[in-house]
């Protein structure tokens, strides 16, 4: 505090003024670095916009996302198969992951014995932090062999004969459904963690309103907690969806990487992220690279929409719980 002592002495006045200039400088420096964060985002948008110039000029954005032909050698680039694969695999993931994830949220926020709560919560959070390449590897070595033998083959040989959605041949097993399964396992911790958080902030008085009416434990969850936390849970699902949409490695490793739209979930497909990652290092032409860049831009916009909705919903719940 020697320095502060100096201020209190009369001779310290000029030093003090100079140091208040120090405040200005400090503020400017902090602001400069903080604005770099904004710059990072701006650069990403500007650079991908600029880099996709050629593709946009050639196909137009609408033409690009609606064309189903992707042939680097012939110079045909349409993003529809990749967008289809991205959306369908993510939807499968969401459909598979959301119900058990919400149940985990209910369990952790409510039913779990106190002793188990902390370790289980930690485990769920750790699983969200595991690198996606590890999930992809597990998919390749463990899930796909199992899936081909016990799920895809039996299904395609029975119901697949009549329903195109499950039509064979299964071949190596890589395809939309198994990609959706891996993505489901990856986003499950995200949805579970958010569900747990929003269910935990449901006020006691809402639960006791149901309890005092003679509701069973499940009825309290069903009629007091889930409705109160509904928007937040949907937000968690959208966060999970956003993660699935933008995920590269797990999809790249198990989806088969074929830019085609097929009715059957057992057939190889591709996602936007997987297609970019697998083709960008070895592009055939500038237009090829430019098209992949445009695809990245489209992917960014799709995830931005999903995440914006998610944040809005989760934010609303936590804000309201601060009130009554």
């Amino acid at each position: 505090m020697a320095l502060t002592d100096a201020f209190s002495r009369s001779g310290g006045l000029r030093l003090r003024q100079r140091l208040q200039h120090g405040d200005l400088i400090f503020w400017l420096v902090a602001l400069f670095f903080a604005l770099l964060v904004v710059a990072l985002l701006a650069i990403i948008v500007a650079v991908t916009w600029d880099g996709s110039d050629e593709a946009r000029d050639t196909f137009g954005i609408i033409g690009f996302i609606t064309s189903t032909e992707w042939n680097p050698v012939a110079g045909e680039f349409g993003a529809a198969p990749a967008i289809y694969g991205t959306v369908v695999s993510s939807m499968i993931a969401l459909a598979l992951a959301a119900p058990p994830a919400i149940m985990i949220g209910v369990f952790l926020s409510d039913l779990c014995p106190d002793r188990l709560r902390a370790p289980l919560s930690l485990m769920v959070e750790l699983l969200a932090a595991i690198p996606s390449v590890v999930y992809g590897m597990w998919g390749v070595f463990v899930l796909i062999p199992f899936y081909r033998t016990f799920i895809a083959s039996p299904l395609s040989e029975t119901v697949g004969e009549y329903i195109p959605l499950f039509a064979g041949p299964v071949a190596v097993g890589r395809g939309l459904l198994v990609a959706g399964m891996i993505l489901a396992i990856m986003i499950l911790p995200t949805i579970a963690a958010v569900s747990r958080d929003v269910l935990t902030v449901v006020p006691t008085h809402q639960k006791e309103a149901m309890l005092a009416l003679g509701a069973t434990r499940w009825e309290v969850i069903r009629h007091a907690q889930l409705p109160y936390a509904r928007a937040g849970i949907v937000g968690g699902m959208m966060l999970g969806l956003g993660r699935a949409l933008g995920e590269t490695m797990a999809a790249l490793m198990v989806i088969g990487n074929m830019p085609r739209i097929e009715a059957s979930l057992f057939q190889p497909a591709t996602t936007a992220a997987a297609q970019i990652a697998s083709q960008l290092p070895t592009t055939e032409s500038d237009l090829h690279a430019s098209s992949l860049i445009l695809m990245a831009l489209v992917l960014f916009l799709i995830t931005l929409v999903a995440n914006s909705i998610a944040r809005l919903l989760v934010w609303n719940v936590s804000r309201q719980s601060g009130g009554r």
């Binding site: 985002l41 289980l120 590897m137 396992i185 992917l299």
Partner: protein, 290 residues
């Protein structure tokens, strides 16, 4: 004695209750099974690949039909990950920490709102998009895949994590500490540097560690920037190998030895993530309890 209406569905209500509670517990169990299986599998497979050579040797081509198979090690990938992530950290730290300080110490203005929004968008951005940006900026310009391009991509992924944690940790510092220093006549910058930051120091380190763990496991942006390299490389202007990249590439190989090394690399990555997250958790809990 009970009202008839209350008893009308009493049985089915208690049965539904029990059923749903069992279902909740059951689905928690069932959902956690694949997750536990994955971890167990990584440990089981990965530990088999770990020997001295794994950590001290670089890639050696698999020789077929020679009896003894030479597998080499992943030293080049370990070195690569350290260099790529280290360079990224050097760039990400000043931006992340200063931005966090700005958000915590000068909150509530329009700039802070915009910066916070951008941090959120960056957090949720698909890592491949970041990789594509670094590819355009560096790889396309220099006509050369390089570790530097990978580091630049990782910076974008690390900054929001560091910013967020720094901001949250600085906010935990009670205002009374700030006011005490200001009351003594210390200017704000002095207060921030000598009072606030030391109090939040371990929290800031926490954010850096979390960002490191996240960056170490990132694969997609490296695929399109760093490319991969079978040799030990030290120059950041050349392609390099990295652990997650190696895990991916070796998984695609038809040789069992390389698959095994992929698991070894995966185990290393998983351990980095687990150790970082658990120690961060323990440290934060201690601080909150105090």
């Amino acid at each position: 004695m009970q009202p008839a209406r209350t008893m009308r569905r009493y049985r089915s209500r208690t049965i539904i209750n029990r059923f749903m509670l069992v279902l909740t517990v059951g689905s928690t169990g069932v959902a956690l099974i694949p997750l536990v299986l994955i971890l167990a599998y990584v440990f089981q497979q990965g530990i088999g690949a770990w020997d001295v050579q794994f950590f001290t040797d670089s890639f050696r081509p698999v020789t077929l039909g020679e009896g003894e198979v030479q597998t080499g090690g992943v030293l080049h990938a370990i070195v690569g990950t350290v260099i790529i992530v280290g360079v990224a950290l050097l760039m990400a730290m000043p931006i992340g920490i200063m931005a966090g300080i700005y958000l915590a110490e000068y909150p509530g203005n329009r700039a802070a709102t915009i910066i916070r929004f951008c941090t959120d968008v960056l957090t949720a951005m698909p890592s491949i998009v970041v990789g594509v940006t670094a590819y355009i900026l560096i790889v396309q310009r220099t006509q050369q895949f390089s570790a530097l391009a990978g580091s630049v991509a990782l910076v974008v992924l690390m900054v929001p994590i560091i910013t967020r944690t720094t901001e949250e940790m600085l906010r935990l510092v009670p205002d009374s500490s700030r006011e005490a220093a200001v009351a003594l006549g210390a200017p704000k910058w002095w207060t921030t540097l000598t009072v606030v930051i030391p109090m939040a120091f371990s929290g800031i380190v926490t954010g850096i560690l979390l960002a490191l763990a996240r960056a170490a496991g990132e694969t997609a942006p490296l695929l399109v920037t760093v490319l991969g390299n079978n040799n030990l490389a030290y120059s950041i202007f050349e392609p390099m190998q990295a652990l997650p990249l190696l895990a991916y590439r070796y998984t695609e190989q038809p040789f069992a030895e390389m698959n095994e090394q992929a698991w070894g690399a995966a185990l290393l990555l998983v351990l980095i993530v687990l150790v970082t997250n658990i120690s961060v958790r323990l440290a934060t809990r201690k601080r909150l309890a105090r």
